[in-house]
């Protein structure tokens, strides 16, 4: 801001120190905030241009493994922003909101149905929060049974970072279980580590490695026999949606990521919603409010209705705007549509895996089916040409395709975790393959062009070290 503007502001400041009736002077803000503002047209141009610098599902193929970047239906947004929904205060009289509560009640039931569980709570505001609540429920369950010594939570070494973080927040000691070369959990070591102190195990199925946990029935057996419970991280539910249910696999409590499996928008980092569902034995510990139904209609439960539940996720009733979008999506898919999701997500993933292997990329689990996602490792190419997974990720951007997930899961070196989702067409899959072929050729004949990418974007490789050291986080 120029100095003459600053001087003008100071004069305005003096004028704005007018007494506000009802509030003593000394309580009023004494110095104006310096918040940049723009007239409307300039503001519209500024943010429109900024948006155009982004990759997004609406503009690019986005095969980000473990994130399920599927198409977000526009009608979901239309519905969620209808004035009746968007202008309602959370504390308005629920007699006026029966239709909305009915939709939420149905959503609870649909989620229970789809996942094979008995009861669902819609209030967690993200997967990680759902996880935290789910783990506290396991803890409360064991406490109710007097099993206070059960203080160990088993987590596979391939797990997403939120899993051990959530377990630790609940006061558990995390015991890591290694994964075998073919992608299944090491059952022998699992049996060793399971014991009287086991509270439970946290699993994703398919796992973060993109393959189905084939011994899931044995794992469930081992844990249940030892008196523990199974927690399901629903991040990868898209692989099984409409075909198989975590409840049938033996899971006791699960969370879903509506912003993944149920097509609600990622919004550049949220909002999400992470509903949790449980079997009957944990129902009393689900956080309030649930949506319940009586002769008087639908209502939100409180601790008075459900005194055994002391947990609360947020100040209000959850991310209703997100829940409505998920409801819309589920109704549009319906029973049969749901099945098609996992079928075509799996078809797209296997098609890509098979053809990337033909091009010459190394598939991490070569003798396994892809689930809805799969891993390729750059390790052989990195050894030969010093080209890393980061380099491939950046080069893809030059070809207008968003990078897959890189360096996750931690178990596979130089990995790319690729998840096309079911909403990418055959043509778009072929385009991805065409580009990966081009990049492969570049790696083997002209690696520099890949190592120094991106070349075609507004900026080139970002200096993250400088960002961390200079820490300029405010303008």
């Amino acid at each position: 801001m120029s100095t003459s503007t600053q001087q003008q502001n100071k004069k305005d400041e003096a004028k704005s120190q007018v007494e506000v009736s009802g509030i003593p002077q000394h309580m009023l803000r004494q110095t104006e905030a310096n918040i940049t503002s723009m007239p409307e047209l300039q503001c519209v141009r500024h943010y429109t241009r900024l948006s155009q610098k982004n990759f997004s599902i609406d503009t690019n193929t986005y095969p980000l493994g473990s994130c399920t970047m599927k198409y977000n239906p526009k009608v979901a947004h239309l519905i969620a922003t209808m004035p009746g929904y968007s202008q309602s205060h959370p504390y308005r009289n629920i007699n006026n909101c029966q239709g909305l509560l009915q939709s939420l009640y149905e959503l609870q039931d649909y989620i229970s149905d789809i996942t094979g569980m008995d009861h669902t709570s819609l209030t967690p505001m993200a997967g990680a929060q759902g996880e935290f609540i789910g783990i506290t429920m396991i803890k409360e369950f064991h406490a109710k049974n007097g099993d206070h010594h059960r203080n160990e939570m088993l987590v596979p070494d391939a797990a997403h970072g939120t899993n051990p973080a959530s377990a630790v927040q609940c006061g558990y000691t995390v015991i890591e279980i290694p994964t075998n070369k073919d992608g299944d959990i090491n059952l022998e070591i699992l049996r060793e580590k399971v014991g009287p102190n086991t509270a439970g195990i946290m699993l994703t199925n398919p796992s973060t490695l993109g393959v189905f946990e084939r011994s899931i029935t044995e794992i469930a057996d081992i844990i249940h026999t030892a008196g523990g419970l199974l927690y399901y991280d629903g991040a990868n539910l898209n692989a099984l949606l409409g075909k198989y249910r975590p409840g049938d696999m033996g899971f006791d409590v699960i969370h879903l990521n509506l912003h993944k499996t149920f097509a609600t928008p990622h919004g550049g980092g949220g909002p999400g919603a992470g509903p949790i569902a449980t079997t009957k034995q944990l129902k009393d510990f689900l956080p309030n409010p649930l949506v319940a139904h009586s002769d008087n209609g639908y209502y939100f439960t409180t601790t008075i209705d459900r005194p055994t539940s002391s947990s609360r996720c947020g100040a209000f009733m959850g991310n209703i705007g997100v829940l409505l979008r998920a409801y819309a999506y589920i109704r549009l898919l319906g029973r049969t549509g749901m099945q098609r999701v996992s079928e075509y997500a799996t078809l797209n993933a296997n098609y890509l895996m098979h053809n990337l292997r033909k091009i010459g990329y190394t598939v991490a689990f070569d003798n396994r089916r892809a689930s809805h996602e799969f891993i390729i490792t750059m390790q052989p190419l990195t050894k030969k040409f010093a080209v890393t997974a980061t380099d491939i990720a950046k080069r893809l951007l030059d070809y207008n395709i968003h990078a897959p997930t890189v360096y996750f899961p931690l178990l596979i070196d130089e990995c790319l975790l690729i998840e096309p989702t079911e909403t990418e067409s055959l043509q778009e899959c072929d385009e991805l393959l065409r580009v990966m072929q081009l990049i492969y050729n570049e790696i083997t004949t002209n690696p520099e062009i890949v190592k120094c990418s991106p070349h075609n974007l507004a900026i080139s490789r970002v200096d993250e070290v400088m960002a961390a050291k200079s820490m300029q986080i405010k303008g």
Binding site: R29, S37, S51, P90, M125, G321, G334, H354, K394
Partner: protein
């Protein structure tokens, strides 16, 4: 098949390429003992047209007057805010982990961090948390971390949002952190100074001060902050961001300012939406930045020297630190932050100050009009921002009766606080409650109370 673009031909081509006969073969690793599911409850699909019809019918009515606050506020949102925010490039983008592909989103977050820190008069901000309640819980964790867990007690006044307290207790359930509840003054609703002074101990990691507090009263923060700092305790400010345009912001409290400020960002351009999605904000001093949870965007240069933005300080977060992360937060509220940034840019300092002034003025007028009616009593004698508590001497349930006038009158405190009788109502006004709305409310109350005496 909604949203699945494959034709039968496409499917055949792909299956042939993979070398399988049908899609079922791709699921052949799944143990045979696991049955394919029967969907029992979910109905068959409906068309988009049918869905829109259904959801239109199910909408709550939208012609009531709203005088409810209690943590969510009905401010006017300029049309441009969501026209821009719902652009597909913002709406359907992912977390900006690939900086080169997300400069738009990253710059928006950087602008947000800048604006909100300015509003709070503080040095640094993160890119958002889930909501105001969880932001307060995270602030408490952060304060304990700053003291390296050597101090574990938090002073919490009885005048914070009751649901925030429930959320905090949930988050703290298995942590070695103790909540020390202190009382508020019965006649002002503000923190009881003696209670506060007595509670400060060598084990106090932090004090929480809500401003305005849940009852709407404005606290005398300077004294509270200086006392806390003299005791080597941190100050966590939980504030309404719009109010901070008008009343003293946390960074300027006392001699050294609050250490952490947090709160609910919903007033900044986020629709009421029946309670969510909203977003929580958190600001702090640079010296505590490494203990702050959530994403942070930093400014840097690319390898050609062009200015650009990137996520930074990620080593605190779950995807790297895992079990030792400062929080388990992953997704946050990116879209809401985009809307809030555009809101703040459109309105600027002056625009937000106007909203604050008008909200206060309307609330003051409403309070005075309502208190001129017999059998109403202003419960707390203290300056307020845009909310106040009235007790109605009536056998009728006032809020229910107001519904007949299409008025959402407020939040009944007797539902959440056992020490308040029925009809003790927290009433709010914003710049949207114009004089005709206020007159309607006043006339409705007059009518309801007159009916009783008749």
């Amino acid at each position: 098949m909604p949203f699945i673009p494959h034709s039968q031909e496409d499917k055949k081509t792909m299956l042939a390429s993979i070398g399988v006969k049908n899609i079922e073969e791709l699921f052949d690793e799944i143990p045979a003992t696991l049955k394919e599911m029967d969907i029992n409850i979910l109905p068959e699909q409906i068309s988009e047209q049918e869905l829109v019809r259904l959801m239109t019918q199910r909408q709550p009515s939208s012609n009531d007057l709203c005088f409810i606050g209690a943590g969510a506020y009905s401010h006017y949102i300029p049309a441009a805010v969501w026209e821009l925010t719902r652009r597909g490039e913002f709406y359907t983008a992912y977390t900006p982990y690939q900086a080169e592909a997300s400069q738009g989103g990253l710059q928006v977050i950087y602008e947000f961090q800048t604006a909100i820190a300015e509003l709070m008069a503080m040095e640094a901000s993160n890119a958002s948390l889930y909501d105001g309640a969880t932001a307060l819980a995270e602030a408490i964790f952060m304060a304990v971390r700053v003291h390296r867990s050597k101090k574990t007690q938090i002073i919490i006044p009885g005048n914070i949002h009751p649901k925030y307290l429930e959320v905090i207790k949930t988050a703290l359930k298995y942590q070695n952190i103790q909540l020390n509840n202190i009382s508020y003054e019965k006649n002002t609703g503000k923190i009881d100074l003696n209670s506060y002074k007595q509670a400060l101990s060598s084990n106090t990691a932090a004090v929480v001060i809500a401003q305005p507090n849940f009852f709407g009263s404005i606290e005398d923060t300077d004294q509270l902050v200086n006392l806390a700092h003299d005791n080597n305790s941190l100050v966590i400010a939980q504030v309404n961001p719009i109010a901070m345009s008008l009343i003293q912001p946390p960074g300027l409290w006392g001699n050294n300012g609050a250490d952490i400020s947090c709160g609910e960002g919903q007033p900044l351009g986020i629709p009421l939406a029946m309670g969510g999605p909203y977003f929580g904000f958190m600001c702090t001093k640079m010296k505590h930045i490494r203990q702050m949870p959530g994403r942070i965007v930093g400014k840097t240069k690319d390898n050609k020297g062009t200015n650009c933005y990137t996520l930074t300080l990620q080593t605190r977060e779950q995807h790297i630190r895992r079990a030792k992360a400062t929080s388990n937060i992953c997704t946050n509220q990116g879209l809401m932050v985009t809307a809030a940034t555009i809101f703040m840019t459109l309105l600027g300092t002056k625009g937000m100050l106007n909203i604050a002034k008008q909200s206060h003025a309307n609330a003051l007028t409403l309070q005075q009009e309502l208190c001129s009616i017999p059998n109403t009593r202003l419960v707390f004698d203290a300056p307020f921002f845009n909310e106040f508590v009235l007790e109605f001497n009536s056998k009728t349930n006032i809020l229910d009766a107001l519904q007949d006038f299409n008025i959402q009158g407020g939040f009944d405190l007797s539902n959440t606080h056992i020490d308040f009788p029925n009809n003790t109502i927290l009433i709010c006004a914003t710049e949207q409650n114009i004089s005709t709305d206020i007159t309607r409310y006043q006339q409705a109350i007059t009518s309801i109370l007159q009916r009783e005496t008749a």
